[in-house]
Symmetry: C2
Subunit: 155 residues, 2 copies
């Protein structure tokens, strides 16, 4: 999994503490000392997934596109990593004595089914946690962080 | 995930139908028209994980190291892919205004925790299915396959 997932999740959580202003990638990146162009690439992926909105210009930057209660960790992971399964069935059965040449076995092969069931369990678990949940956990466990994040991302 | 996972799982299931003889990588590979040297590499990983045993010599090859009831899909996936998490926390919090320089946040960061919980759900799901389960599903759904696999792998 690419490190953009970690960066994107942290940046989404940070954006929860920003008031009504947009935050440029440069500022989001500086908070974690990350390379801004590469974080910007991740943020653009979140815009395409409609998790963030972006505005250009001197007061431009990124904002959450909807309340963090309606953005799951799954949404962010999918935006960065794509929706494709980690396990790709290449239908090797098709070339075996028990298979039919050219057939796609990704739905019917029991091995595919077991791998897909596990991936579904993974996705379901990721979908249980929202960005708002993460924000609330941080706020509860480290109440001092809120102000530091807010001021770190202020215009 | 590398395609060796698919190959290794299919080969383990196939080995369930072999009697008391060892099957060389060449024969296991030929069943699915796979490149033998690369399948051999996966089989060696299964030997290191004590899922298979290997014997050299003219009657050499691979056997299941234990009953397929005691080999889970998780065991095979871990043998091929390694036990490392797909999500790697790089502790970016350490370099932020709310972090402690040099600290490892992989256990305490709520983002890491959410990602790790999902990976655990994935592993648990994979551990629910054994190679024997897969063998039984094939035998039940496609009773004609058993004989073809047996004769395809016979010495």
């Amino acid at each position: 999994m690419n490190e953009g997932v970690e960066w994107a999740l942290h940046s989404c959580v940070n954006l929860c503490w920003v008031g009504d202003h947009a935050v440029p990638a440069k500022k989001l990146a500086a908070f974690f000392e990350l390379p801004a162009p590469y974080l910007n690439k991740q943020m653009q992926a979140l815009v395409r997934a409609e998790i963030l909105t972006s505005a250009s210009g001197p007061r431009g930057g990124f904002r959450l596109a909807r309340p963090p209660e309606r953005i799951t960790v799954m949404d962010v992971v999918t935006a960065i990593e794509g929706a494709e399964s980690a396990f790709r069935c290449t239908s090797i059965l098709a070339d075996s004595p028990v298979g039919v040449t050219g057939r796609n076995y990704s739905g019917s092969c029991f091995i595919s089914q077991a791998m897909n069931a596990a991936e579904l369990a993974w996705r379901r678990e990721l979908a249980k946690t929202t960005i708002a949940d993460l924000r609330d956990r941080v706020a509860k466990a480290f109440p001092g962080h809120t102000g530091k994040i807010e001021s770190g991302l202020a215009p």
